[in-house]
Each structure stands twice: as C-alpha cells, then as structure tokens.
Symmetry: C2
Subunit: 235 residues, 2 copies
DNA sequence: CGGGCGAGGATTGTATAAAGTTTCGCCTGT
DNA sequence: ACAGGCGAAACTTTATACAATCCTCGCCCG
C-alpha cells in the first residue's frame, strides 16, 4: 500500500495540466493583467502552456462556469465584463455568506490557523508597502478565501471562490480613482476578532469591510460609452 | 427581422447538443433513475444521444462542477454519493440563502408570477395524486428553482441550482422510509405568503420547510452497509 | 488449492484533423 | 468616391485517431 496513491483526492493537483492552465489564467485575471473584454484565443493559450487546444478548452469552460470568462458561441472566450447589476448581486451575496463564514471560522480557531492568517497579513502589508498593486489585489482576495477554508465548509468555499473572482473584476472596472489603500487594516481587525472568538465582532467587521469596499465603487450605468449602445439595440 | 436569431443569448438553448445531454442526465439523476455510484460511461451516453465523446465529456464536466457527478481520474464519471457531512453543509447553505431569496421574490410579485407559481402547485398536486414519485421529486425541486428565478438574482439562482441538485441525491440516500408525502402544502403556504407580500411569513415558512425536510433525513454515518467498509479501509 | 503475476481488453486522456461559422479585406458597380 | 457583396483566412466546433492507464481474467508457481 504505497502512501502516494490518493484515489479519492479531488483537490486541484498542481500536477494536473488543466489546473495549471486554469490557475494561470485565473491569476492573470485576478491580478488585472488581463482586462475585461480581452479575447482568450485557444491557440494562443495552448502555445503558452505547451498544450493542445483540448486542454485549454476544458480550462476555459471551467472559468466560464465560475463567471470570470464569457464564452460566446462560435466567437470564442473573453474575460467577463460584469455589469453594475452583476456587481450589486455579487456584493449582496458576499454580505450574506461571509458573515456566516467568519462565524464558522471562530469555531475552527487554533494556533495553526491563527499563524496562517497572521503570516498572510504580513504578506499583504509587505506587498502594499512596496507598492505592488498586482500582488495586493491578489492577496486581498486570498485573505477572504483563507477564512473560507478555515470555516471548513466546502460549499461556502466554492461559492466564495466564484464571488471573489468576480469581485476582482468588478473592482477593476468600477473602483473610484481616489480611493486610498484598501482594507489590510480591516483584515487585521477581522483576524483579531476571530482570535478572540468574538463572533459578533467578527461578523460585524466582515460586514462593514464589505460595505466599505462596495462604497468605494461607482456603480452608475455601465462603463458609460460603448456598452450603452449595445444595450439599446442588441438585447 | 427574423426573430429566431439571438446572437447574445447565453440562456441554455435546447438546441445546444451539450445542453441536451446535460439536462437529460440531470433529469435522470434528479428523478432518481440513476442511483448514486452509477458509472456514466462516455461511449454509453454518446451512443444514446448520437454524439461523440467530446460533447459527452463537456456535459459531464459541467455536471461535476455542479456537484452531482464525480470524475475520478482515469476511471470515469459516477453519480455523486454525498456524505452526511455534505448533506449538512447543503442544508445549512439552503437555510441561509433561500429565506433571502423568498424575500426578493416578494419584491417581484406580479399576476404573471403568481400564475406561474400556482400552475406549478397544480402540477405538483397532480403528480402526487397519481402517485408519480419521479415527477414529484423533480417538481419539488423545480418549485424552489422557480422562486429563485422569480427573485431575479442570477447568482442566487446559480447557487441554488447546485444546492437543489445535491439535495435530490441526499434525499434519495438518507430519507427515512416512513415519511409521509412531502411538502406540497408547505409550498402552497409559501406561495400564499409571497402573494400577500408578507416578507416575514414567507421567510419563516421557507425556513421551517427546509428544517422539516432535513428532519426527515437520517444523517447518521453513511447508508450504513457498504460505505462503512469502504470508509474503514479505503479512505 | 490458493495467491501472485502478466497479457488482453476496455475505457479514459490527449492530440490532430475535418467541418462549420464568423470576420475582414478587396473588388466591383453605381 | 462610396455602398454592398463576394471570397478567403482565421477561429471555433465537432469528430476521429492515437496513446496511456486501469480492470479483468486466466495462467503459472508455490
């Protein structure tokens, strides 16, 4: 019985080639290196990862299911461009789910988890200090994902992964330019509340954190120009 | 202007061959015609729908993402077999999301929607009357989906579709044998509350409905027999 | 007679080729 | 000069062929 065989593992193996493509493209989108509307050609990506279009196609379909890629029939895959209505839905869902998640995280508190959270906070602060906007965006989302993992609820985790990915696109599209550094402080406060096992404080801080993020957005009509036309005559 | 061309439609066209496979297999699973653990061979399904394995694979991958099919590497696709832990997570998520959904449904109330809901209730009653268990199971899930559509929140709708599909498997696996007819009455009560625009009543009835469904389950360790062995030595 | 081992068959994973659709440039006609 | 249409190129979609992996069953050895 070799210990290396894990027949029932559904965890995203890094050794899986499809996962590598999916995670690479996801990272590029979440770090705002691929902008909404960008065409994701199958040949193009396949060349980059040295794989055939079959695997690229699989990865793109998974991303489409997660909502960060749109596949238009016979036209190809594009980085999604969430509408303001989508944005409101995403943040409403996060306001519903994430307070519950931190609640569960309080139940799972342990030295190991507190250590992971604080190590993450350190990473976030460091990235922000050196002005690495891309890493900051990615780490900010990772914080929420980490709390969801801590909660131990695989379904909430799956839902939140989708919501975080979409949020990243939304923030890119609709953030006001004059916003200060985002919520590393908030994250620290949430960790402190979790550490003290203070359910109510944790829930409240998570909620206000989400509200502040959404308040920094400008969710008037589409990005104004082009989309308006398309709406008037297309749909 | 031919009405048949809908270039921007992302709705699941019945004309799409992948969708037809996906919906066919989903219906078979939700109606308890395909039992958990059943092998879903690619050739087998491809033959049935007259399609090549490429399309079948796409459909199966989508179902895997929805959680009602497990794909094991180099072994194939199987109808999922949710654990009691999965079941608890699914119902906790439903208790969180569905009260919020009915809340939104109250905002969307209109004669057309009330009509659709009542027509659905009639269908449910009829199926139950003639003892069609398969149709009953499917329609019971469809009721919740219909309310989610009415809420107009596409994200909640997507989440709930997953939860409903998983619930159907869970009910099949863990329902107590002595349960009476399920909750058509509950559904009628929820519709009545929505119609009267009574938010609190609607939320409360939805919540108690979900609680009753879960109370009818026997979520002690696996389905007892076979799985116990597998757990002891396999995983 | 029981257990390990290996070849054969079946099934999945990956790549490539054929078919269909869209897009863009060019060309013609007014 | 410009609008409209034809045609070729590029891309996506679907099917098929090839490679790799796993399961089964029979054989051989202890």
């Amino acid at each position: 019985m070799a210990a290396k065989s894990r027949p029932k593992s559904d965890a995203p193996d890094a050794s899986d080639r499809v996962s590598r493509i999916r995670e690479g493209v996801t990272a590029a989108i979440l770090e705002h290196r691929l902008l909404p509307g960008t065409k994701l050609g199958e040949d193009e990506i396949g060349e980059i990862y040295g794989s055939s279009r079959t695997l690229v196609r699989t990865a793109l379909q998974q991303l489409a299911h997660e909502g960060i890629v749109n596949i238009e029939k016979n036209r190809g895959a594009f980085v999604a461009r969430p509408t303001p209505a989508d944005a409101r839905e995403v943040f409403e869902a996060r306001r519903l789910i994430e307070p519950t998640i931190v609640d569960h995280a309080v139940d799972a508190v342990s030295p190991a988890w507190i250590g992971r959270l604080q190590r993450h906070l350190a990473e976030e602060r460091e990235a922000e200090l050196r002005g690495d906007a891309r890493a900051s965006v990615r780490l900010s989302g990772d914080f929420h994902r980490l709390v969801a993992e801590m909660s131990g609820h695989s379904i909430y985790l799956g839902f939140l992964k989708e919501l975080i990915a979409r949020s990243s696109l939304i923030i890119l599209l609709y953030r006001r330019h004059d916003t200060p550094a985002c919520g590393t402080d908030h994250h620290a406060g949430i960790v402190a509340a979790i550490r003290k096992r203070d359910r109510e404080a944790a829930r409240a801080q998570m909620l206000s954190h989400l509200n502040e993020i959404e308040a920094e957005l400008f969710l008037k009509d589409p990005a104004a120009d082009e989309l308006r036309l398309a709406d008037v005559l297309g749909v």
